[in-house]
Symmetry: none
Subunit: 224 residues, 2 copies
Amino acid sequence: MAGILLVEDDPSVRAGLELALTRQGHSVTAYATGEEALEHVRSRRPEIAILDVMLPGIDGVEVCRRIRRLDPLPIILLTARGDDLDVVVGLEAGADDYVVKPVEPRVLDARIRAILRRLESASPDRLTFGDLVIDRGALKVSLAGKEIHLTPTELRLLLELVRHPGQVLNRRYLLRAVWDHTHVADSRLVDACVQRIRAKIEPVPADPVYIHTVRGFGYRFSPP
Amino acid sequence: MAGILLVEDDPSVRAGLELALTRQGHSVTAYATGEEALEHVRSRRPEIAILDVMLPGIDGVEVCRRIRRLDPLPIILLTARGDDLDVVVGLEAGADDYVVKPVEPRVLDARIRAILRRLESASPDRLTFGDLVIDRGALKVSLAGKEIHLTPTELRLLLELVRHPGQVLNRRYLLRAVWDHTHVADSRLVDACVQRIRAKIEPVPADPVYIHTVRGFGYRFSPP
DNA sequence: GCGCCAGGTCACAGGACTGTGACAAATAGG
DNA sequence: CCTATTTGTCACAGTCCTGTGACCTGGCGC
């Protein structure tokens, strides 16, 4: 996922973190010293840096300060000491987060993702089902990369179906959820709307991949 | 310094943190429940939120998720539990940081500043979208180098739209964010204001490049 | 194979939404 | 106090959407 720069002098800790983060899907480059790390930042521009504080030569906090002068990339400091003063010094040196060892790889991963997510800022409120991509923030739907125009009611119905993937939703429920409950239960309203959506998102509307009819019950959205 | 929203149900902890953060130069509003906090986010738009995880009613993680749906502001979760799993759940709910109580006020302050610093560096004062340049520091807008005069309300609305690039914002939300919520929900106010902005910044107001109408939902600002 | 019934399809008129210009109330500045 | 600017409201028109009823199709039980 992300290009991570890891600096840790203890070989076994370094190997352990490198393996764990790689398993989480990150691309990791690890070094034992701050000098190497700074060179890496200059030449390779990683997306995020994880620095041990206790390093031979230049210590982690100082590496952090120097990276800050080079690049605004996010930095996580890693330390065996949990002393409050260290935290303050570290964060004031420009670090974005401060994690105390020993750290659960899952926790480190979660913190990395939280920082990267914030950085992206474009909230990826996106759902992907095969070729179908639904962006709930932008209220955009696209199929195989091409944007599809859905009308408000169609979009509301699709979102309602997608909210319960794999579940059969009956017409009464959908009428209440998508329309006002002022409509008669017995009408072709839901069917007609489903049909309009299918015409737009199903490659073969007669043999639907996304919205399935469950005879006698209602409709089910399920990923292909 | 920053408008901080603090949610903590224990009165003594709440008072302590409020005092400490105020002393650090922050402007703090404190609540005991998540419901009040959500209302505050809707109406007052704080710069950062600090949420206790253990709350009566809606818990902190859930408050975090709901805030995320409203606004991209940074969130720090506060907890007495240091369980690793909690950290992961919290960060995946959209929190930016996770702090274990008891916390030194200096540490909390350092983390707040680290997050705000990161936010500032990630979102500079001057935003450029094609020909459109918005200077949030000087409160000036220019199009293709020529300065455009926007009235205060127009500017507030444009900034609100720009704060959530690519996101559809509905009229109710915009009414609350840009105007006071004293107005009736059903009015052409937003439409008229959007139309005035378009007349000033859109080369062809009838075929807008920046502010798009999403029929039935609201408006979306997206770079051309 | 037949009849029944749930669901699919379609066209269209009425309705919902939005854009737009005009206008008056509110506000600020001189 | 007067004037210019800003802002909220309204009416109207055009566009797009949508609910509806009629009719068609296909699956299913017998």
